[in-house]
Subunit: 245 residues, 2 copies
DNA sequence: CGGGACATTGATTAAGATCAATTTAAGTGG
DNA sequence: CCACTTAAATTGATCTTAATCAATGTCCCG
Protein backbone atom coordinates (compact mmCIF):
# COMPACT_ATOMS: atom_id res chain seq x y z
CA UNK A 1 0.00 0.00 0.00
CA UNK A 2 1.37 3.33 -0.95
CA UNK A 3 1.34 6.31 1.33
CA UNK A 4 -1.67 8.56 0.94
CA UNK A 5 0.09 11.83 0.52
CA UNK A 6 -2.90 13.91 1.52
CA UNK A 7 -3.27 12.20 4.85
CA UNK A 8 -0.43 13.12 7.17
CA UNK A 9 0.48 16.74 7.67
CA UNK A 10 3.09 17.56 5.03
CA UNK A 11 5.61 18.56 7.67
CA UNK A 12 5.32 15.14 9.24
CA UNK A 13 6.80 13.60 6.11
CA UNK A 14 10.05 15.48 6.55
CA UNK A 15 11.28 13.74 9.67
CA UNK A 16 10.98 10.48 11.51
CA UNK A 17 8.14 10.06 13.97
CA UNK A 18 9.04 11.24 17.44
CA UNK A 19 6.94 11.80 20.57
CA UNK A 20 6.69 15.54 19.89
CA UNK A 21 5.25 15.00 16.46
CA UNK A 22 1.65 14.82 17.60
CA UNK A 23 1.34 18.58 17.61
CA UNK A 24 1.80 18.74 13.87
CA UNK A 25 -0.36 15.75 13.15
CA UNK A 26 -3.66 16.31 11.40
CA UNK A 27 -5.02 13.21 13.09
CA UNK A 28 -4.06 14.08 16.62
CA UNK A 29 -7.62 15.02 17.55
CA UNK A 30 -8.74 11.60 16.45
CA UNK A 31 -5.87 9.64 17.80
CA UNK A 32 -6.05 11.38 21.17
CA UNK A 33 -9.76 10.80 21.22
CA UNK A 34 -10.71 14.37 21.94
CA UNK A 35 -13.34 16.02 19.78
CA UNK A 36 -11.54 19.30 19.10
CA UNK A 37 -8.69 19.38 16.64
CA UNK A 38 -5.30 20.89 17.22
CA UNK A 39 -5.02 19.99 20.88
CA UNK A 40 -1.50 19.59 22.22
CA UNK A 41 -0.18 16.19 23.22
CA UNK A 42 -1.46 15.06 26.59
CA UNK A 43 -1.08 12.03 28.80
CA UNK A 44 -3.33 10.32 26.28
CA UNK A 45 -0.57 10.60 23.72
CA UNK A 46 1.42 7.89 25.41
CA UNK A 47 -1.46 5.49 25.29
CA UNK A 48 -2.09 6.39 21.69
CA UNK A 49 1.17 5.05 20.35
CA UNK A 50 2.69 1.66 20.38
CA UNK A 51 6.06 0.27 19.52
CA UNK A 52 5.71 -3.06 17.79
CA UNK A 53 8.75 -5.29 17.89
CA UNK A 54 9.94 -7.33 14.94
CA UNK A 55 7.76 -10.41 14.54
CA UNK A 56 4.98 -9.09 16.78
CA UNK A 57 1.43 -8.84 15.50
CA UNK A 58 -0.38 -5.50 15.45
CA UNK A 59 -3.60 -7.43 15.01
CA UNK A 60 -4.54 -10.97 14.09
CA UNK A 61 -7.22 -12.67 12.02
CA UNK A 62 -10.41 -12.91 14.02
CA UNK A 63 -9.58 -10.04 16.39
CA UNK A 64 -12.45 -7.67 16.97
CA UNK A 65 -11.97 -4.33 15.27
CA UNK A 66 -11.11 -1.96 18.09
CA UNK A 67 -8.53 0.26 16.44
CA UNK A 68 -7.16 1.25 13.12
CA UNK A 69 -3.41 1.80 13.10
CA UNK A 70 -1.42 4.46 11.37
CA UNK A 71 2.00 3.06 10.59
CA UNK A 72 4.47 5.84 11.37
CA UNK A 73 7.80 4.09 10.93
CA UNK A 74 9.03 0.62 10.19
CA UNK A 75 7.39 -1.93 7.92
CA UNK A 76 4.82 -4.64 8.14
CA UNK A 77 3.52 -7.67 6.29
CA UNK A 78 -0.20 -8.33 5.91
CA UNK A 79 -0.82 -12.04 5.87
CA UNK A 80 -4.05 -13.84 5.05
CA UNK A 81 -4.47 -17.45 6.10
CA UNK A 82 -7.36 -19.58 4.98
CA UNK A 83 -8.96 -22.41 6.96
CA UNK A 84 -6.90 -24.95 5.01
CA UNK A 85 -3.64 -23.36 6.04
CA UNK A 86 -2.92 -21.62 2.77
CA UNK A 87 -1.01 -18.44 3.28
CA UNK A 88 -0.81 -15.35 1.12
CA UNK A 89 1.06 -12.13 1.83
CA UNK A 90 -1.37 -9.44 0.76
CA UNK A 91 0.86 -6.40 1.09
CA UNK A 92 3.99 -4.92 2.63
CA UNK A 93 2.83 -1.55 3.98
CA UNK A 94 5.38 1.09 4.89
CA UNK A 95 5.26 4.31 6.91
CA UNK A 96 2.19 6.41 6.18
CA UNK A 97 -0.25 3.56 5.65
CA UNK A 98 -3.46 3.05 7.61
CA UNK A 99 -3.71 -0.59 8.71
CA UNK A 100 -6.81 -2.62 9.49
CA UNK A 101 -9.32 -1.34 6.93
CA UNK A 102 -10.25 -4.92 5.94
CA UNK A 103 -11.98 -5.30 9.31
CA UNK A 104 -14.55 -2.65 8.43
CA UNK A 105 -16.65 -5.12 6.47
CA UNK A 106 -17.58 -7.36 9.38
CA UNK A 107 -16.01 -5.79 12.45
CA UNK A 108 -13.37 -8.49 12.58
CA UNK A 109 -9.87 -8.51 11.16
CA UNK A 110 -9.45 -10.87 8.22
CA UNK A 111 -5.66 -10.87 8.20
CA UNK A 112 -2.59 -10.64 10.43
CA UNK A 113 -0.41 -7.55 10.46
CA UNK A 114 3.12 -8.48 11.52
CA UNK A 115 6.04 -6.12 12.01
CA UNK A 116 9.02 -6.85 9.77
CA UNK A 117 11.21 -4.66 12.01
CA UNK A 118 10.68 -2.67 15.15
CA UNK A 119 7.95 -0.26 14.12
CA UNK A 120 5.84 2.55 15.50
CA UNK A 121 2.08 2.81 15.09
CA UNK A 122 -0.40 5.44 16.17
CA UNK A 123 -3.49 3.83 17.59
CA UNK A 124 -6.77 5.19 16.22
CA UNK A 125 -9.64 3.89 18.37
CA UNK A 126 -12.26 2.89 15.82
CA UNK A 127 -15.44 4.26 17.40
CA UNK A 128 -13.82 7.64 18.02
CA UNK A 129 -12.31 7.54 14.58
CA UNK A 130 -15.69 6.94 12.95
CA UNK A 131 -17.25 9.54 15.21
CA UNK A 132 -14.74 11.98 13.87
CA UNK A 133 -15.56 10.99 10.30
CA UNK A 134 -19.18 11.69 11.08
CA UNK A 135 -18.37 15.23 12.16
CA UNK A 136 -15.61 15.83 9.67
CA UNK A 137 -16.63 14.88 6.16
CA UNK A 138 -13.12 15.46 4.86
CA UNK A 139 -11.84 12.71 7.15
CA UNK A 140 -14.57 10.40 5.87
CA UNK A 141 -13.57 11.10 2.28
CA UNK A 142 -9.96 10.41 3.15
CA UNK A 143 -10.89 6.99 4.47
CA UNK A 144 -12.84 6.31 1.31
CA UNK A 145 -9.84 7.24 -0.76
CA UNK A 146 -7.56 5.05 1.30
CA UNK A 147 -9.86 2.07 0.91
CA UNK A 148 -10.16 2.70 -2.82
CA UNK A 149 -6.37 2.92 -2.92
CA UNK A 150 -6.13 -0.51 -1.33
CA UNK A 151 -8.63 -1.85 -3.85
CA UNK A 152 -6.55 -0.55 -6.74
CA UNK A 153 -3.32 -1.79 -5.22
CA UNK A 154 -4.81 -5.26 -4.86
CA UNK A 155 -5.95 -5.06 -8.46
CA UNK A 156 -2.38 -4.40 -9.53
CA UNK A 157 -1.08 -7.35 -7.54
CA UNK A 158 -3.82 -9.49 -9.02
CA UNK A 159 -2.66 -8.57 -12.49
CA UNK A 160 0.87 -9.49 -11.51
CA UNK A 161 -0.16 -12.93 -10.24
CA UNK A 162 -2.63 -13.55 -13.02
CA UNK A 163 -0.72 -12.35 -16.06
CA UNK A 164 3.01 -12.30 -15.44
CA UNK A 165 5.88 -14.78 -15.39
CA UNK A 166 8.00 -15.17 -12.28
CA UNK A 167 10.64 -12.87 -13.71
CA UNK A 168 8.11 -10.18 -14.56
CA UNK A 169 6.49 -10.44 -11.15
CA UNK A 170 9.79 -10.02 -9.34
CA UNK A 171 10.72 -7.07 -11.55
CA UNK A 172 7.30 -5.53 -10.94
CA UNK A 173 7.65 -6.08 -7.22
CA UNK A 174 11.07 -4.45 -7.09
CA UNK A 175 9.83 -1.48 -9.11
CA UNK A 176 6.90 -1.11 -6.73
CA UNK A 177 9.27 -1.11 -3.78
CA UNK A 178 11.50 1.37 -5.54
CA UNK A 179 8.61 3.74 -6.23
CA UNK A 180 7.41 3.58 -2.65
CA UNK A 181 10.92 4.23 -1.41
CA UNK A 182 11.10 7.28 -3.62
CA UNK A 183 7.65 8.44 -2.43
CA UNK A 184 8.89 8.24 1.15
CA UNK A 185 12.01 10.25 0.46
CA UNK A 186 14.50 7.40 0.19
CA UNK A 187 16.67 6.40 -2.72
CA UNK A 188 14.75 4.46 -5.36
CA UNK A 189 17.98 2.78 -6.51
CA UNK A 190 19.33 1.36 -3.29
CA UNK A 191 17.41 0.00 -0.34
CA UNK A 192 17.03 -2.87 2.07
CA UNK A 193 14.30 -5.47 1.67
CA UNK A 194 12.88 -5.90 5.15
CA UNK A 195 11.12 -9.16 4.35
CA UNK A 196 12.52 -12.64 3.85
CA UNK A 197 12.66 -14.40 0.49
CA UNK A 198 9.92 -16.63 1.86
CA UNK A 199 7.69 -13.58 2.39
CA UNK A 200 8.38 -12.32 -1.13
CA UNK A 201 7.59 -15.77 -2.48
CA UNK A 202 4.28 -15.92 -0.62
CA UNK A 203 3.47 -12.43 -1.85
CA UNK A 204 4.17 -13.22 -5.51
CA UNK A 205 2.74 -16.71 -5.65
CA UNK A 206 5.97 -18.62 -6.18
CA UNK A 207 8.57 -20.57 -4.20
CA UNK A 208 11.62 -19.25 -2.35
CA UNK A 209 13.87 -21.01 -4.82
CA UNK A 210 12.27 -19.24 -7.74
CA UNK A 211 12.65 -15.87 -6.01
CA UNK A 212 16.37 -16.55 -5.47
CA UNK A 213 16.99 -17.79 -8.95
CA UNK A 214 15.09 -14.89 -10.49
CA UNK A 215 17.06 -12.34 -8.48
CA UNK A 216 20.24 -14.12 -9.55
CA UNK A 217 19.17 -13.90 -13.18
CA UNK A 218 18.32 -10.21 -12.89
CA UNK A 219 21.75 -9.66 -11.40
CA UNK A 220 23.42 -11.70 -14.15
CA UNK A 221 21.63 -9.45 -16.64
CA UNK A 222 23.11 -6.44 -14.79
CA UNK A 223 19.68 -5.01 -13.97
CA UNK A 224 20.24 -5.20 -10.25
CA UNK A 225 22.87 -6.03 -7.70
CA UNK A 226 21.64 -8.00 -4.74
CA UNK A 227 23.31 -9.22 -1.59
CA UNK A 228 21.02 -10.80 0.94
CA UNK A 229 18.51 -8.09 1.85
CA UNK A 230 20.52 -5.25 0.34
CA UNK A 231 19.40 -4.27 -3.14
CA UNK A 232 20.74 -1.89 -5.78
CA UNK A 233 18.89 -1.22 -9.01
CA UNK A 234 21.33 -0.59 -11.85
CA UNK A 235 19.01 -0.38 -14.82
CA UNK A 236 15.74 1.01 -13.58
CA UNK A 237 14.28 1.46 -17.07
CA UNK A 238 14.91 -2.13 -18.11
CA UNK A 239 13.46 -3.30 -14.80
CA UNK A 240 10.36 -1.17 -15.21
CA UNK A 241 9.95 -2.50 -18.70
CA UNK A 242 10.35 -6.08 -17.62
CA UNK A 243 7.74 -5.57 -14.89
CA UNK A 244 5.31 -4.04 -17.41
CA UNK A 245 5.01 -0.67 -15.63
CA UNK B 1 -18.37 -9.04 -5.30
CA UNK B 2 -21.16 -10.37 -3.18
CA UNK B 3 -24.37 -8.56 -2.52
CA UNK B 4 -24.39 -6.35 0.53
CA UNK B 5 -27.53 -7.59 2.15
CA UNK B 6 -28.03 -4.52 4.30
CA UNK B 7 -28.02 -2.22 1.33
CA UNK B 8 -31.23 -2.68 -0.67
CA UNK B 9 -34.56 -2.68 1.00
CA UNK B 10 -35.33 -6.29 1.95
CA UNK B 11 -38.51 -6.30 -0.09
CA UNK B 12 -36.52 -5.35 -3.16
CA UNK B 13 -34.74 -8.69 -3.06
CA UNK B 14 -37.95 -10.60 -3.53
CA UNK B 15 -38.65 -9.59 -7.09
CA UNK B 16 -36.89 -8.47 -10.21
CA UNK B 17 -36.23 -4.79 -10.67
CA UNK B 18 -39.08 -3.00 -12.41
CA UNK B 19 -39.85 0.67 -12.96
CA UNK B 20 -42.19 0.78 -10.01
CA UNK B 21 -39.58 -0.55 -7.62
CA UNK B 22 -38.10 2.83 -6.82
CA UNK B 23 -40.74 3.49 -4.21
CA UNK B 24 -39.46 0.69 -2.05
CA UNK B 25 -35.80 1.45 -2.61
CA UNK B 26 -33.80 2.79 0.30
CA UNK B 27 -31.53 4.56 -2.16
CA UNK B 28 -34.22 6.30 -4.14
CA UNK B 29 -33.56 9.65 -2.52
CA UNK B 30 -29.95 9.41 -3.61
CA UNK B 31 -30.56 7.95 -6.97
CA UNK B 32 -33.24 10.51 -7.80
CA UNK B 33 -30.96 13.24 -6.65
CA UNK B 34 -33.44 14.87 -4.33
CA UNK B 35 -32.35 15.70 -0.80
CA UNK B 36 -35.37 14.32 1.03
CA UNK B 37 -35.74 10.60 1.40
CA UNK B 38 -38.85 8.62 0.62
CA UNK B 39 -39.96 10.70 -2.33
CA UNK B 40 -42.07 8.94 -4.89
CA UNK B 41 -40.74 8.17 -8.35
CA UNK B 42 -40.79 11.15 -10.67
CA UNK B 43 -39.73 11.91 -14.20
CA UNK B 44 -36.19 11.77 -12.83
CA UNK B 45 -36.63 8.05 -12.34
CA UNK B 46 -36.32 7.38 -16.01
CA UNK B 47 -33.04 9.23 -16.22
CA UNK B 48 -31.78 7.40 -13.16
CA UNK B 49 -31.81 3.95 -14.67
CA UNK B 50 -30.05 2.51 -17.62
CA UNK B 51 -30.33 -0.70 -19.54
CA UNK B 52 -26.90 -1.92 -20.55
CA UNK B 53 -26.78 -4.33 -23.44
CA UNK B 54 -24.55 -7.35 -23.54
CA UNK B 55 -21.01 -6.32 -24.38
CA UNK B 56 -21.61 -2.64 -23.62
CA UNK B 57 -19.45 -0.82 -21.09
CA UNK B 58 -21.00 0.80 -18.04
CA UNK B 59 -17.76 2.74 -17.61
CA UNK B 60 -14.25 2.47 -18.99
CA UNK B 61 -10.73 2.89 -17.70
CA UNK B 62 -9.87 6.57 -17.62
CA UNK B 63 -13.47 7.80 -17.49
CA UNK B 64 -14.06 10.57 -15.00
CA UNK B 65 -16.02 9.40 -11.97
CA UNK B 66 -19.48 10.87 -12.47
CA UNK B 67 -21.67 8.07 -11.17
CA UNK B 68 -21.58 4.95 -9.14
CA UNK B 69 -23.85 2.21 -10.44
CA UNK B 70 -26.06 -0.13 -8.53
CA UNK B 71 -26.37 -3.33 -10.52
CA UNK B 72 -30.01 -4.36 -10.24
CA UNK B 73 -30.17 -7.30 -12.61
CA UNK B 74 -27.86 -9.06 -15.01
CA UNK B 75 -24.15 -9.59 -14.62
CA UNK B 76 -20.94 -7.82 -15.41
CA UNK B 77 -17.22 -8.37 -15.73
CA UNK B 78 -14.70 -5.93 -14.27
CA UNK B 79 -11.62 -5.86 -16.44
CA UNK B 80 -8.31 -4.18 -15.69
CA UNK B 81 -5.91 -3.52 -18.53
CA UNK B 82 -2.38 -2.35 -17.99
CA UNK B 83 -0.36 -0.13 -20.33
CA UNK B 84 1.38 -3.19 -21.77
CA UNK B 85 -1.91 -4.76 -22.77
CA UNK B 86 -2.07 -7.31 -19.99
CA UNK B 87 -5.63 -8.07 -19.04
CA UNK B 88 -7.05 -9.35 -15.79
CA UNK B 89 -10.68 -9.94 -14.92
CA UNK B 90 -11.00 -8.58 -11.42
CA UNK B 91 -14.50 -9.74 -10.58
CA UNK B 92 -17.87 -10.87 -11.92
CA UNK B 93 -20.39 -8.78 -9.98
CA UNK B 94 -24.03 -9.80 -9.91
CA UNK B 95 -27.26 -8.06 -8.93
CA UNK B 96 -26.97 -6.06 -5.73
CA UNK B 97 -23.40 -4.89 -6.21
CA UNK B 98 -22.30 -1.25 -6.31
CA UNK B 99 -19.96 -0.70 -9.25
CA UNK B 100 -17.26 1.91 -9.69
CA UNK B 101 -15.81 2.22 -6.18
CA UNK B 102 -12.26 1.87 -7.53
CA UNK B 103 -12.61 5.35 -9.04
CA UNK B 104 -12.91 6.95 -5.61
CA UNK B 105 -9.15 6.95 -5.14
CA UNK B 106 -8.32 9.35 -7.93
CA UNK B 107 -11.65 10.39 -9.43
CA UNK B 108 -11.03 8.25 -12.49
CA UNK B 109 -12.12 4.71 -13.22
CA UNK B 110 -9.25 2.21 -13.21
CA UNK B 111 -11.13 -0.61 -14.89
CA UNK B 112 -13.82 -1.39 -17.44
CA UNK B 113 -17.24 -2.69 -16.39
CA UNK B 114 -18.77 -4.68 -19.22
CA UNK B 115 -22.20 -6.29 -19.26
CA UNK B 116 -22.15 -10.06 -19.74
CA UNK B 117 -25.84 -9.98 -20.59
CA UNK B 118 -28.48 -7.29 -20.93
CA UNK B 119 -28.45 -5.72 -17.48
CA UNK B 120 -30.09 -2.98 -15.51
CA UNK B 121 -28.23 -0.44 -13.40
CA UNK B 122 -29.42 2.37 -11.21
CA UNK B 123 -27.32 5.46 -11.75
CA UNK B 124 -26.10 7.12 -8.57
CA UNK B 125 -24.65 10.54 -9.43
CA UNK B 126 -21.48 10.67 -7.39
CA UNK B 127 -21.64 14.23 -5.99
CA UNK B 128 -25.23 13.77 -4.84
CA UNK B 129 -24.37 10.36 -3.52
CA UNK B 130 -21.51 11.72 -1.43
CA UNK B 131 -23.66 14.61 -0.36
CA UNK B 132 -26.15 12.11 0.94
CA UNK B 133 -23.40 10.25 2.78
CA UNK B 134 -22.45 13.54 4.40
CA UNK B 135 -25.97 13.99 5.75
CA UNK B 136 -26.69 10.35 6.39
CA UNK B 137 -23.89 8.67 8.31
CA UNK B 138 -25.48 5.26 7.89
CA UNK B 139 -25.11 5.57 4.13
CA UNK B 140 -21.45 6.52 4.59
CA UNK B 141 -20.87 3.46 6.76
CA UNK B 142 -22.53 1.29 4.15
CA UNK B 143 -20.13 2.55 1.52
CA UNK B 144 -17.23 1.83 3.84
CA UNK B 145 -18.48 -1.69 4.34
CA UNK B 146 -18.90 -2.23 0.65
CA UNK B 147 -15.38 -1.07 -0.06
CA UNK B 148 -14.02 -3.26 2.73
CA UNK B 149 -16.02 -6.12 1.24
CA UNK B 150 -14.32 -5.57 -2.10
CA UNK B 151 -10.94 -5.54 -0.35
CA UNK B 152 -11.65 -8.86 1.32
CA UNK B 153 -13.01 -10.37 -1.88
CA UNK B 154 -9.87 -9.36 -3.72
CA UNK B 155 -7.81 -10.88 -0.92
CA UNK B 156 -9.59 -14.18 -1.44
CA UNK B 157 -8.97 -14.11 -5.17
CA UNK B 158 -5.34 -13.27 -4.48
CA UNK B 159 -5.04 -16.34 -2.31
CA UNK B 160 -6.56 -18.41 -5.08
CA UNK B 161 -4.08 -17.14 -7.68
CA UNK B 162 -1.12 -17.21 -5.31
CA UNK B 163 -1.61 -20.52 -3.55
CA UNK B 164 -3.78 -22.87 -5.58
CA UNK B 165 -3.39 -25.19 -8.54
CA UNK B 166 -5.56 -24.75 -11.62
CA UNK B 167 -7.94 -27.42 -10.41
CA UNK B 168 -8.29 -25.85 -6.97
CA UNK B 169 -8.82 -22.42 -8.47
CA UNK B 170 -11.61 -23.61 -10.73
CA UNK B 171 -13.25 -25.48 -7.87
CA UNK B 172 -12.97 -22.39 -5.67
CA UNK B 173 -14.41 -20.23 -8.43
CA UNK B 174 -17.39 -22.53 -8.95
CA UNK B 175 -18.05 -22.65 -5.21
CA UNK B 176 -17.91 -18.87 -5.07
CA UNK B 177 -20.44 -18.65 -7.90
CA UNK B 178 -22.60 -21.23 -6.20
CA UNK B 179 -22.61 -19.31 -2.93
CA UNK B 180 -23.50 -16.07 -4.64
CA UNK B 181 -26.30 -17.77 -6.51
CA UNK B 182 -27.65 -19.06 -3.23
CA UNK B 183 -27.32 -15.60 -1.66
CA UNK B 184 -29.42 -14.16 -4.49
CA UNK B 185 -32.13 -16.75 -4.13
CA UNK B 186 -31.14 -19.06 -6.99
CA UNK B 187 -30.19 -22.70 -6.87
CA UNK B 188 -26.61 -23.21 -5.72
CA UNK B 189 -26.44 -26.52 -7.59
CA UNK B 190 -27.51 -25.54 -11.06
CA UNK B 191 -26.86 -22.30 -12.88
CA UNK B 192 -25.61 -20.71 -16.05
CA UNK B 193 -22.15 -19.21 -16.33
CA UNK B 194 -22.68 -15.89 -18.06
CA UNK B 195 -19.04 -15.43 -18.96
CA UNK B 196 -16.92 -17.14 -21.61
CA UNK B 197 -14.16 -19.65 -20.82
CA UNK B 198 -11.78 -16.93 -21.89
CA UNK B 199 -13.16 -14.62 -19.17
CA UNK B 200 -12.87 -17.35 -16.55
CA UNK B 201 -9.30 -18.00 -17.67
CA UNK B 202 -8.38 -14.33 -17.41
CA UNK B 203 -10.01 -14.21 -13.99
CA UNK B 204 -8.15 -17.22 -12.65
CA UNK B 205 -4.76 -16.60 -14.24
CA UNK B 206 -4.71 -19.53 -16.63
CA UNK B 207 -5.47 -20.32 -20.27
CA UNK B 208 -8.80 -21.23 -21.87
CA UNK B 209 -7.52 -24.71 -22.57
CA UNK B 210 -6.70 -25.29 -18.93
CA UNK B 211 -10.18 -24.10 -17.90
CA UNK B 212 -11.77 -26.55 -20.33
CA UNK B 213 -9.59 -29.48 -19.35
CA UNK B 214 -10.11 -28.79 -15.66
CA UNK B 215 -13.88 -28.66 -16.06
CA UNK B 216 -13.67 -31.90 -18.02
CA UNK B 217 -11.67 -33.51 -15.23
CA UNK B 218 -14.13 -32.31 -12.56
CA UNK B 219 -16.91 -33.80 -14.63
CA UNK B 220 -15.02 -37.07 -15.08
CA UNK B 221 -14.66 -37.18 -11.29
CA UNK B 222 -18.44 -36.76 -11.07
CA UNK B 223 -18.17 -33.52 -9.07
CA UNK B 224 -19.98 -31.50 -11.68
CA UNK B 225 -21.82 -31.83 -14.93
CA UNK B 226 -21.06 -29.14 -17.47
CA UNK B 227 -22.39 -28.42 -20.90
CA UNK B 228 -21.22 -25.17 -22.43
CA UNK B 229 -22.40 -22.44 -20.07
CA UNK B 230 -24.82 -24.66 -18.16
CA UNK B 231 -23.43 -26.05 -14.92
CA UNK B 232 -24.68 -28.56 -12.37
CA UNK B 233 -22.82 -29.28 -9.17
CA UNK B 234 -23.24 -32.90 -8.13
CA UNK B 235 -20.87 -33.15 -5.20
CA UNK B 236 -20.84 -29.76 -3.54
CA UNK B 237 -18.88 -30.94 -0.50
CA UNK B 238 -16.07 -32.45 -2.54
CA UNK B 239 -15.96 -29.31 -4.66
CA UNK B 240 -15.81 -27.06 -1.60
CA UNK B 241 -13.04 -29.19 -0.21
CA UNK B 242 -11.08 -29.12 -3.42
CA UNK B 243 -11.39 -25.33 -3.55
CA UNK B 244 -10.17 -25.07 0.07
CA UNK B 245 -13.30 -23.35 1.35
C1' DC C 1 -27.91 -22.87 -43.88
C1' DG C 2 -23.60 -20.86 -43.57
C1' DG C 3 -20.31 -18.03 -40.92
C1' DG C 4 -18.01 -17.03 -36.91
C1' DA C 5 -17.29 -17.03 -32.17
C1' DC C 6 -16.75 -20.19 -28.63
C1' DA C 7 -15.45 -24.63 -26.77
C1' DT C 8 -13.03 -28.86 -26.69
C1' DT C 9 -9.33 -32.21 -27.19
C1' DG C 10 -4.57 -33.80 -28.39
C1' DA C 11 0.63 -33.45 -28.67
C1' DT C 12 4.58 -31.14 -27.26
C1' DT C 13 7.28 -27.82 -24.69
C1' DA C 14 8.73 -24.90 -21.09
C1' DA C 15 8.34 -22.63 -16.66
C1' DG C 16 8.49 -23.30 -12.24
C1' DA C 17 7.85 -26.74 -8.31
C1' DT C 18 9.97 -30.10 -5.72
C1' DC C 19 13.70 -32.54 -3.61
C1' DA C 20 18.30 -32.25 -1.94
C1' DA C 21 22.53 -30.22 -0.49
C1' DT C 22 25.50 -26.43 0.77
C1' DT C 23 26.76 -21.78 2.00
C1' DT C 24 26.29 -17.62 4.58
C1' DA C 25 25.24 -14.54 8.03
C1' DA C 26 23.38 -13.27 12.42
C1' DG C 27 22.97 -14.20 16.96
C1' DT C 28 24.16 -16.39 21.60
C1' DG C 29 26.35 -18.06 25.37
C1' DG C 30 30.68 -19.30 27.31
C1' DC D 1 36.08 -12.40 21.27
C1' DC D 2 35.20 -16.78 19.45
C1' DA D 3 33.01 -21.21 18.77
C1' DC D 4 28.60 -22.84 18.08
C1' DT D 5 23.76 -22.81 16.66
C1' DT D 6 20.29 -21.82 13.63
C1' DA D 7 17.44 -19.39 10.29
C1' DA D 8 17.88 -17.70 5.81
C1' DA D 9 19.64 -17.84 1.29
C1' DT D 10 21.58 -20.05 -2.56
C1' DT D 11 22.46 -23.50 -6.13
C1' DG D 12 21.78 -27.92 -8.63
C1' DA D 13 19.07 -31.97 -10.55
C1' DT D 14 14.80 -33.75 -11.64
C1' DC D 15 9.86 -33.86 -12.23
C1' DT D 16 5.05 -31.90 -12.84
C1' DT D 17 1.86 -28.73 -14.17
C1' DA D 18 0.11 -25.84 -17.16
C1' DA D 19 1.35 -23.16 -21.47
C1' DT D 20 1.67 -23.39 -26.20
C1' DC D 21 0.67 -24.99 -30.74
C1' DA D 22 -2.64 -27.23 -33.57
C1' DA D 23 -6.85 -29.16 -35.07
C1' DT D 24 -11.61 -30.09 -34.77
C1' DG D 25 -16.26 -29.76 -32.99
C1' DT D 26 -20.50 -27.20 -31.92
C1' DC D 27 -23.77 -23.87 -31.22
C1' DC D 28 -25.87 -19.49 -32.04
C1' DC D 29 -27.45 -15.93 -35.03
C1' DG D 30 -28.30 -13.46 -39.07
Amino acid sequence: METISAFPHPAARQRAAAPGDCDICLLSHVCHSVPDAGSLPTAATLRARRIVHQGDAIYRTGDTLRNLYWLRSGSVKIRATNPFGLEQIIAFPVAGTILGLDAIEAGTHTSDAIALEDSLVCILPFPEFMGNCRRDFTAAQLINQMMAHDINELGRLLMSLGCMTAEERVADFLMGMSERMAANGYSPREFVLKMTREDIAKHLGMTVETVCRTLARLQAAALIRVNRRRLEIHNIEALRNMGHR
